[in-house]
């Protein structure tokens, strides 16, 4: 157990371009979501991941397709990175049958059985016990799959965090706890929500292998996640990784952001994970002139297509309102 950062992985710049593309994809997708929200095409609560892309992209890169993910309401990025199509996510936010949750879930509840994407949980820390159970299922059946469980640092004050860490550690389950520490829970700064702000230290108190990593560096994120996933898959029990990141936007679409200064946000924007990787790739000669522009074009095309798909999607007939409440109808 340790609570210091691992030795940074040797930068794998060959894969860097794929990671850049993926982060850009998340970013542009959400930027479009903002427009669509203003146009009232998307409704309800919507939480943006902008600024935190390195975490989901880095972490998902270390999962196998048959590994599971459990996330929060701030999960557009995780869903995209886990392989859900932009189409199915956008259609979901438009409330369409073609959406990944048939339009029942919206932004906060993306699901995909095929990709083992277990949601979008909008109760803070509510997904952690599920992740423990998914991992328990794998262990009981002798499968070498891992469950990745994402949550914010705010969730660590909830009782469910504590119970889940203890169960996972006690039973040595293959679950990886990925804490996205963006320093705020809505308007509550970490220092005002945790008596112990070194979160990896907090996790280590459960005898869980824990460390922190720079959440603005996608390569570091990927390396840290890989290490955690490898340990969990090899039977080493759960791991906990704190990703030190920041959300560039408001908590949700209704947040006056009274709790932090513009300067602070600007400072963090200097560390934009996309720009950082772009610079690094460019400097290393891995990104030729025009390649970034080409990525942008490709992504814009994908998103345009997703929006068109969502626009054309169908509405669940009202007669089917209660059709999916129980799988078995009573006789």
């Amino acid at each position: 157990m340790t609570s210091t950062s691992p030795v940074p992985a040797a930068p794998d710049l060959a894969e860097g371009r794929r990671l850049l593309h993926e982060m850009l994809r998340l970013r542009r997708f959400e930027e479009r979501c903002v427009e669509l929200y203003s146009a009232a095409r998307i409704r309800g609560f919507m939480h943006l991941y902008i600024g935190e892309e390195a975490v989901a992209v880095g972490a998902m890169a270390s999962l196998r397709a048959d590994d599971a993910a459990v996330t929060t309401y701030r999960e557009h990025g995780h869903a995209l990175a886990k392989g859900l199509s932009a189409r199915s996510i956008m259609a979901e936010m438009f409330g369409r049958v073609e959406g990944c949750s048939r339009g029942h879930g919206g932004s906060m509840h993306l699901f995909d059985a095929e990709r083992r994407f277990y949601g979008g949980n909008a109760i803070v820390a509510g997904g952690l016990p599920l992740a423990v159970g998914l991992a328990l299922g794998d262990k009981l059946r002798g499968l070498d799959r891992v469950t990745a469980c994402y949550f914010g640092e705010g969730a660590m004050a909830e009782g469910a965090f504590h119970e889940s860490m203890n169960l996972a550690a006690l039973w040595s389950l293959p679950v990886v706890f990925l804490c996205e520490n963006n320093l705020y829970a809505m308007g509550t700064a970490l220092t005002r929500s945790e008596s112990q702000t070194d979160l990896a230290l907090k996790a280590a108190a459960y005898e869980v292998t824990s460390w922190a990593v720079d959440g603005m560096d996608v390569l570091a994120c990927r390396a840290a996640s890989r290490r955690a996933v490898d340990i969990a898959r090899a039977g080493g029990g759960p791991c906990f990784v704190e990703y030190r990141t920041y959300r560039f936007r408001a908590h949700s679409m209704y947040d006056p952001e009274l709790y932090r200064s513009k300067e602070e946000v600007e400072r963090w924007k200097q560390r934009d994970p996309i720009d950082a990787l772009d610079r690094r790739l460019t400097e290393a000669g891995y990104l030729a002139d025009g390649e970034r522009a080409q990525m942008e074009t490709e992504i814009a095309g994908e998103i345009d297509d997703a929006v068109a798909y969502a626009e054309e999607g169908t509405q669940e007939p009202v007669e089917d309102l209660t059709r999916y409440v129980l799988r078995r109808a009573s006789s």
Binding site: G95, M108, G154, G159, A185, M186, S193, L321
Partner: protein, 334 residues
């Protein structure tokens, strides 16, 4: 020469709730507000904006995400002579504090043989209708109405939004106030001297003769709208606003039904086991021989509330649904 009394001012439920909080914090030095993001953020729904600046962080206390912890802490502080106002951001999260509410707040007085009362107020947002989907759209105030040892309030008018808090705060027992989220932005007129209101009685919000619509909170405006629709059909609907969900004011309910002989209960919660069932059962027990037709219920569909707007709206009682049920009651059971 006396200055003319100032006329009513236009305000919203949000502002009315905020004024009530400000007033309470000014007048009762034992009172303090505590909950997630009530301070720096200004309140998840903007209710407490500005209060931190006015009263400081001791009396407008932000809490970590830990519903059981800070609701329980509110109970403890109340046991220790304070008058905490605990905000649970929404009823959806109150499930995490239910043990504290039922097993401590509600039980303490009786269990201790009358020694320990708990002068606590818990506020929370309730209701669906804003496309927040399954986990953020519960209407569980009816559940709380099942618990002996607490009072449950549900403001449906600006007067009650402004006035219930103070009365609740002076009450020696735990009082829960359910604020319907759809109403926060609703505007209306409020007298500038609006103040505390009593919390023991239901209110007839509109008099009528042909049937009684019984409801509360977020469904009150819809029932009043339905009454308008019915008027166009020549049906005169009385509208009873329960206001206090526990203890229920059965007297007012029965008196109205005994005049109109027909009733529709409107409740946006899932139909089975909602408060509407209790109201229906009480009418059965207390006014059976007055009834010209069976009491009808218009409730939420029994489904985890879906995100898609058309589905969500279909899951909730609309004025047209209420009017339809009322018409059937009057026509088919003429």
């Amino acid at each position: 020469m006396t200055a003319p009394a100032p006329g009513p001012t236009t305000t919203t439920f949000r502002q009315a709730y905020r004024e009530a909080l400000r007033d309470a914090l000014r007048r009762d030095e034992l009172a303090f507000l505590m909950g997630e993001d009530v301070g720096m953020y200004g309140g998840c729904f903007g209710v407490s904006t500005g209060l931190l600046e006015e009263f400081g962080p001791e009396r407008v206390r932000d809490t970590p995400l830990s519903e059981a912890g800070f609701v329980g802490a509110g109970i403890g502080a109340a046991l220790n002579g304070m008058h905490p106002i605990v905000e649970v951001m929404t009823v959806n999260f109150s499930l995490l504090a239910l043990d504290q509410i039922m097993n401590n707040a509600a039980s303490m007085l009786h269990m201790s043989g009358g020694q320990f009362n708990v002068p606590l107020v818990i506020r929370m947002t309730t209701g669906a209708g804003r496309q927040l989907a399954a986990q953020h759209s519960h209407s569980l105030e009816g559940w709380f109405g099942h618990i002996p040892g607490i009072r449950v309030l549900a403001p449906g008018t600006l007067e009650d939004a402004r006035g219930m808090l103070w009365t609740a705060l002076q009450d020696p027992d735990p009082v829960l106030i359910f604020e319907n989220g759809r109403l926060y932005g609703t505007e209306g007129e409020l007298a500038p001297d609006a103040g505390p209101v009593e919390i023991d009685h239901a209110a007839v919000r509109r008099a009528g003769t042909d049937l009684t619509l019984i409801t509360y909170g977020g469904s009150l405006p819809r029932a009043l709208e339905a009454a308008e629709l019915l008027l166009a059909d020549g049906i005169s609907a009385e509208v009873v606003d329960l206001r206090t969900l526990r203890p229920l004011d059965t007297t007012t309910i029965l008196a109205s039904v005994s005049r109109t002989h027909r009733a529709v209960v409107v409740d946006e919660a899932w139909r089975t086991g909602s408060l509407s069932a209790e109201v229906s059962a009480r009418i059965m027990e207390g006014a059976f021989y007055e009834l010209d037709a069976p009491v009808a219920r218009v409730c939420g569909a029994e489904v985890p509330i879906p995100y898609a707007q058309h589905l969500e709206q279909a899951a909730l009682p609309q004025p047209e649904d209420i009017a339809l049920a009322a018409r059937e009651l009057v026509q088919d059971h003429g």
